[in-house]
């Protein structure tokens, strides 16, 4: 799974573990084909398996990988089950800069 970033792998395992919608992966900018490839790798590396009635679930190896990646990627909050929404972060600006959010259409 080396061609994908650790954050992608973490997010996949997290989605499977907590049965979250696929939006959690597509919001990272991944196309369907990329998500499918990521999923294939997860199945191939036995981190994920199809349990039949219950659908896709993490294997024990997958759960270990999830715990390890959370500690690596988010060392400040490894025990939280809600992952930071990195895709919504804005770039850090200078202390005395003025932040002006983009005006939404029709908004004030």
């Amino acid at each position: 799974m080396s061609e994908f970033q650790p954050s992608h792998i973490l997010r996949l395992l997290h989605v499977v573990r907590y049965r979250l919608p696929m939006d959690e992966l597509s919001s990272l900018g991944l196309a369907y084909s990329q998500i499918a490839e990521l999923l294939s790798l997860g199945l191939r590396d036995h981190l994920i398996e199809d349990s039949g009635e219950e659908g896709l679930v993490l294997t024990p190896e997958g759960q270990n990988a999830l715990d390890k990646l959370i500690r690596e990627v988010y060392p400040r909050n490894p025990n939280e089950w809600i992952l930071p929404a990195d895709q919504h972060r804005i770039p850090r600006i200078g202390r005395f800069d003025i932040y002006l959010p983009k005006r939404k259409k029709g908004g004030k």
């Binding site: 919608p21 369907y32 999923l39 659908g55 896709l56």
Partner: protein, 275 residues
């Protein structure tokens, strides 16, 4: 992308089907278009499309030579034994004579096979329209091969044969139909008209012929639901002439279920194999 109705499990199933077919997922956007199509459907409708896609035949232009050679092996050795000359023409409806159709591409491909053993060493002359046939065709020891990549309902072929018989005056027993892929329904329609028929692949109706009840009934209901949701015109529902084809050639025939090829703007539906 709107993936509100697409689960990882469905994505995994689709990937598995693509892998089984050896269809690429990363070199073209077909896989993503499939996903966008499935995301719009309910779970039982997704299951229907996935089940049918397992049996989908996709023939890219690089595979045409393979299917031409395979079709040629179906020609009986004695068919051309007495022939002095063989004419080969693209199969088209009379109103399309002279136009560039997929059959024109197939006929052009036969330039490479004029020396094939199926032709028993006889000269093969590739013509574009019936005007290329000699006036004494019936009396001469000549044969005519009509070629096309796909025969669906047989309507186009029937129109062409009727024109050749009634307007040009050709004896249909001196004609061989050669198609790369043929729907069984079209073959049944044509076989009583006189010409012999050879092909590379024969296909049945995707739901009616391939499944038994109750699965057949469930798939039928799901497809009706899909086509109503996507607001397809009645004449193409279940494919033109209800052929229920699951085939894509260079161009997807309209005999194929329209969910695979008919894009819509309202509701927004991007077909995986647009025509």
């Amino acid at each position: 992308m709107n993936n509100s109705g697409l689960s990882l499990r469905v994505l995994a199933k689709l990937k598995s089907i693509f892998d089984a077919h050896h269809w690429p997922t990363d070199q073209e956007d077909t896989f993503d278009r499939f996903c966008q199509m499935l995301a719009f459907l309910e779970p039982e409708e997704q299951d229907c499309v996935l089940e049918l896609t397992k049996n989908f035949l996709r023939v890219d232009f690089t595979e045409y030579p393979h299917h031409i050679r395979k079709a040629l092996t179906g020609i009986e050795p004695e068919l051309f034994r007495e022939a002095a000359r063989i004419y080969l023409m693209p199969l088209r409806a009379p109103q399309d004579f002279g136009k560039q159709k997929s059959s024109t591409f197939v006929a052009y491909g036969f330039h490479e096979y004029r020396a094939h053993e199926a032709f028993a060493g006889k000269p093969v002359l590739i013509i574009d329209t019936p005007g290329g046939l000699p006036r004494n065709f019936n009396a001469s020891n000549s044969m005519l091969i009509l070629v096309d990549d796909f025969i669906g309902s047989g309507e186009t072929a029937e129109g062409c044969l009727n024109y050749l018989r009634e307007i040009v005056g050709i004896d249909l027993n001196k004609i061989l139909l050669l198609a790369l892929v043929v729907q069984r329904e079209g073959w049944t329609r044509l076989k009583g008209m006189g010409p012999k028929l050879v092909y590379s692949e024969m296909r049945g109706k995707g739901i009616t012929d391939e499944f038994q009840d109750p699965t057949r009934q469930a798939l039928t209901e799901a497809m009706h639901s899909i086509e109503a949701k996507l607001r397809f015109d009645a004449d193409i529902c279940f494919g033109y002439k209800q052929c229920e084809a699951l085939v894509k050639m260079i161009r997807t025939p309209n005999n194929t279920f329209p969910v695979y090829w008919k894009s819509q703007t309202t509701p927004k539906h991007l077909a995986p194999f647009p025509r």
